[in-house]
């Protein structure tokens, strides 16, 4: 369910930039042009353009596996383009599209911070408090192994690094931490990270690493619990993003449809032609 909502909201996010870019190119947006722009955007998105752009720009522009960065780039590019075109000729279509792009940036940033980032940070703080509480009480968190989907690896740091590297996807951070802290006898680290952001099976992973002496490391990985938190966050974000886009696109297109020939010049609105 979370992935369906996520996929829907991802597709919806490109509609306002598509309208913005169309208004930038043609000045006055007609209903046919708006429909064409929206259709092309949906088709390109369905064809996987987002992933193609992500792959094409990786290495020289960014180092991320998260296709959401392409959406962010597209939204910002469209806002800048339609904003720039206003300086050339302020048609009503461009003004409305610029407002829609601006509102999209503000609202999505707020939704993302409140509905996704904050719950993830709360989940990280909760797990850290649980782990550090157990360590303070009994030396390690072995009692949590096997509880609510938590998997553990115990042994020498080298052995644990090699086993975790083989058995856990996206284990680079854990392996690097164990290698970098090989000379430290005491260690307690707990963090939360995204996994598989380039596929549908994206999730969240709580990782805890403890060392009581140089030769014994305990690594605990929990994917089930935090991924459930992420799923709830994705659903909330997706539903609100879709509702917001529906409202803005409907209102924006209605205004453009009624007043599409207007443009602003010399301190007043004039009709084209």
């Amino acid at each position: 369910m979370a992935n369906i909502v996520r996929s829907l909201s991802d597709s919806v996010l490109v509609l306002i930039p598509a309208l913005g870019l169309a208004a930038t190119l043609v000045g006055h947006l007609t209903t046919r042009m708006a429909a064409t722009a929206v259709t092309i955007a949906v088709l390109l998105d369905t064809a996987g353009l987002r992933h193609l752009l992500l792959e094409a720009t990786r290495g020289w522009l960014h180092d991320s596996h998260n296709p959401s960065w392409v959406t962010v780039g597209l939204v910002l590019f469209a806002a800048a383009a339609v904003g720039g075109s206003l300086l050339r000729k302020a048609t009503l279509s461009r003004v409305i599209c610029a407002m829609m792009c601006g509102a999209q940036i503000v609202v999505l940033t707020a939704f993302h911070q409140l509905l996704v980032i904050s719950p993830i940070q709360a989940e990280e703080a909760r797990e850290t408090a649980l782990v550090s509480g157990l360590v303070e009480q009994g030396g390690d968190f072995r009692s949590l192994c096997g509880v609510a989907g938590r998997a553990c690896w115990l042994g020498s740091p080298e052995e644990v690094a090699s086993e975790v590297g083989e058995q856990v996807a996206h284990s680079d951070g854990i392996v690097r931490l164990l290698e970098d802290t090989a000379d430290r006898p005491n260690l307690l680290h707990s963090w939360t990270e995204m996994i598989l952001p380039s596929t549908d099976e994206e999730g969240l992973m709580n990782v805890s690493v403890v060392k009581a002496d140089m030769n014994a490391a305990l690594v605990m990985v929990d994917i089930e619990g935090p991924s459930r938190v992420l799923d709830t966050a994705k659903q909330a974000f997706g539903v609100l993003a879709v509702a917001f886009h529906q409202a803005w696109i409907t209102l924006g297109l209605l205004i453009i449809w009624r007043h599409r020939n207007l443009y602003y010049q010399g301190g007043r609105w004039r009709t084209e032609g």
Binding site: A122, R126, G133, Q235
Partner: protein, 311 residues
């Protein structure tokens, strides 16, 4: 009445400046709450329990007057200030409590204060449709819909997930270690142990006052091993609202352990309250601004004989 009309006319009721109280009420209210209240979630919560009632106040004005004049915005603001400062919500809550059990949650009054005037305005609009009534009705219905959506997504959903996670965690921890005592003190979990009857008596007289825990301990006494975990809201009728996960474990020897985890869920609940209030406030500001702009330009239209006419 004539005197009031004369005073109103002297105040230049159609001046655009009268829109300012409506446009600025939410920012002022939010700033005042942030300065007044030390607890950030509670400061934001006052937005979602009080400030959102500005639209229902405008609904009341729209029921009484069909044609919009900018001074109506100031009337709505005065009505809202009276509602908030006279603690009307608490008074109505206490009165209704004598008739209906509201589960200790005064937010039902806030919901009622939004729904009832909107329903009356709907009837008034069907009787005589003016643009003022239609715009305010749309705002009120949109507010009810979006707040329900925001509440479900930002509060109910995360609480359900957290509750299920705690339940699963405690169940599996008990299964793996045959005890949950070692969780006491972790993440500020407080524990109480003893016989079910003794604990029930202890809780019945304590400040914590968890009715459901007492009832459960009384019901389960002498009935063998049991494990229950649930999440409940504590002290919803005061500002010190909290969330807590409660676990009751009774072993084979009829020894009961009650574990209360309040700190972490209350912290998460605080974040939910902030998220909900910011979304509710941002939505309200947008709708109020748009609605007042439309009403300022077209507030004197009436729907007669199939078309909008200026009165």
């Amino acid at each position: 009445m004539m005197l009031l009309r004369k005073i109103e006319e002297r105040l230049r009721p159609d001046s655009v400046l009268w829109l300012l109280p409506g446009l600025l009420v939410l920012p002022f209210f939010t700033l005042a709450s942030l300065f007044e209240e030390d607890n950030l979630p509670n400061a934001f919560q006052s937005v979602s329990t009080s400030a959102i009632l500005w639209i229902p106040c405008l609904v009341v004005i729209a029921i009484m007057c069909g044609k919009f004049r900018p001074i109506h915005t100031a009337y709505a603001t005065i009505l809202f200030a009276l509602y908030d400062s006279l603690r009307t919500r608490e008074i109505i809550y206490d009165l209704i409590l004598k008739v209906i059990d509201l589960g200790g949650n005064p937010n039902w009054i806030t919901l009622g204060a939004m729904v009832v005037p909107a329903a009356i305005l709907l009837v008034a609009t069907i009787w005589r449709a003016t643009l003022f009534r239609v715009v305010v009705l749309v705002s009120a219905l949109a507010q009810i819909t979006t707040l329900t959506l925001f509440h479900t997504l930002t509060v109910i959903g995360p609480i359900t997930v957290a509750s299920e996670a705690e339940k699963e965690f405690v169940e599996q921890y008990l299964e793996a270690r045959s005890e949950i005592q070692s969780l006491c003190g972790i993440q500020s979990r407080s524990c109480f142990s003893g016989s079910p009857e003794g604990l029930a008596e202890e809780f019945a007289t304590s400040q914590l006052n968890p009715h459901s825990t007492v009832k459960l301990l009384e019901d389960r006494a002498g009935k063998g091993p049991a494990l229950f975990t649930w999440t409940e809201s504590a002290f919803a009728e005061t500002a010190d609202e909290a969330m807590r996960h409660i676990t009751v474990h009774i072993d084979e020897k009829e020894r009961a352990l009650v574990m209360i985890n309040e700190e972490a869920p209350t912290k998460s609940f605080g974040q939910m309250k902030i998220a909900f209030s910011i979304l509710a406030g941002a939505f309200q500001q947008t709708w109020v601004t748009l609605a007042l702009l439309i009403l300022w330009r077209h507030g004197d239209y009436t729907w007669t004989k199939g078309r909008w006419r200026r009165s």
